[in-house]
């Protein structure tokens, strides 16, 4: 065990520190997801409408998010805007801003997709049954949209968690950074710590994401 550097994990409070780092990652992603879902619902409904100006603007927004690596966005917000506007933002706030910007686009696209995937005959059949506009939405359209939307937005949570690993590149001390620090601190006593610690970080991420993606898959199967 010494040779693989697994002993380091159980030395002192190392495991606690790693878990604390994981919590930072989870906190960033949960806050960003919460913002993204709210904003994404609004933007997505706007996109499904037929205002040409809004459509053009949101298309450009989606395309930017689609082709720009999140890391580039992080650098722009963390180094670029601070340089231009002379303000000072914490790395954690910067990552929440970026992940919200990215997540909103993803969420909006999901909402739009779910809305336009409801066939027209659903509206017409409901109307033919004598339902009013409000009833149609409440009983027919929104339940179906949510069923398509919920598994996909849960999936967005796991993608968000995975993306938070990038935050270490702008100095957020999350699980990977904590791992690095532990390895550095134990360089002398256990030179092979890198193996054990990075394997542990790998497992921690897996343990955080896998149940969520299984749950999303389960819902998808149950509701489709």
């Amino acid at each position: 065990m010494q040779a693989l550097g697994i002993d380091v994990l159980f030395k002192g409070i190392n495991m606690q520190r790693l878990l604390g780092g994981l919590w930072i990652s989870l906190r960033i992603s949960l806050i960003a997801v919460a913002f993204s879902i709210v904003l994404g619902l609004i933007v997505g409904v706007l996109m499904a409408g037929d205002n040409p100006v809004i459509k053009a603007v949101t298309r450009v927004y989606l395309e930017i998010v689609r082709v720009m690596p999140q890391m580039v966005l992080l650098f722009i917000v963390f180094f670029g805007t601070t340089r231009v506007f002379g303000w000072n933002i914490e790395a954690e706030i910067a990552s929440i801003i970026v992940f919200t910007f990215w997540g909103t686009a993803e969420m909006a696209d999901l909402v739009r997709g779910a809305l336009i995937s409801i066939p027209k005959h659903q509206y017409e059949s409901a109307a033919a049954l004598g339902m009013e506009e409000g009833q149609i939405y409440r009983h027919i359209i929104i339940p179906q949209t949510l069923r398509r939307l919920i598994p996909l937005s849960i999936n967005l949570v796991t993608r968000m968690i995975k993306t938070t690993s990038l935050a270490m590149m702008i100095g957020v001390v999350e699980v990977l950074k904590v791992g690095q620090q532990i390895i550095e601190a134990n360089r002398k006593s256990s030179p092979n710590a890198a193996f054990g610690v990075y394997a542990c970080v790998f497992v921690l991420y897996f343990a955080a994401c896998w149940p969520i993606s299984m749950f999303s898959k389960y819902l998808e199967r149950k509701w489709s």
Partner: protein
């Protein structure tokens, strides 16, 4: 003072160009490997090859549920400790291939599974041989169903190359970070970074939309 200094931008151009070639080289090598790996894994899963399908299933879940950055750290810093040293560039390609393989496998598999048995049966009852049916009926539909997800995966993987700077590969991200640290020309560096990523990714995105329009799956009964 002007916002951007053009002489600075021009002097940085060659550095960024080299970095872009590195990003493209690793990115495309990784993606090609990922397509191959994903295809094999999809077949193993689709035809339920005993034992292998379990291994492939574990692999897919492991790599779909962890970030590339963590995978790369493990491959690049962790594995040498048990005597498996991989140089940075092959390591980048390997990491991207493993991540991409898991995503591609799921894409291909859902494409294969989306084709209902009735398609095969109808083709056979029209007098086609099995081979003809697969070649002319099943594969064209499976491919056209997979295209949007496939393109999304390619774009995703090209974007993921931005984490290679963490294992000291001199890609676009590394170059930008390095130059910002050295000369503090933050805005020029970031502008170039955005421009070069657009050069890499916009054509792929445009090609993707074009393919999607051309290959749109002919819905039946909707």
């Amino acid at each position: 003072m002007e916002l951007l200094r053009w002489d600075v931008i021009v002097s940085y151009l060659p550095l960024y160009r080299d970095a872009m070639f590195l990003t493209l080289r690793i990115g495309w090598a990784g993606i090609f490997a990922a397509v191959g790996l994903g295809f094999v894994c999809a077949l193993v899963r689709h035809f339920r090859v005993p034992i292998l399908q379990n291994i492939v299933g574990i692999y897919i879940e492991l790599f779909r549920n962890t970030p590339l950055l963590v995978q790369l750290f493990f491959l690049y810093f962790g594995l040498p400790k048990i005597g498996l040293e991989i140089p940075a560039e092959p390591c980048g390609v390997l990491g991207l291939a493993l991540l991409g393989g898991a995503y591609m496998a799921e894409t291909f598999r859902s494409g294969l599974e989306a084709i209902e048995p009735i398609q095969m049966e109808s083709a056979l009852s029209l007098g086609m041989t099995r081979q003809q049916a697969v070649l002319h009926v099943i594969l064209p539909q499976a491919v056209s169903i997979s295209v949007p997800a496939f393109v999304a995966n390619v774009i995703f993987l090209l974007k993921e190359t931005s984490v290679f700077s963490a294992i000291s590969l001199m890609d676009l991200m590394f170059t930008a970070k390095d130059l910002i640290g050295l000369y503090y020309k933050t805005l020029e560096c970031l502008t170039l970074l955005v421009v070069f990523y657009l050069i890499i990714l916009l054509p792929v995105s445009a090609l993707g939309s074009f393919l999607e329009r051309r290959l749109r799956y002919a819905g039946f009964g909707d």
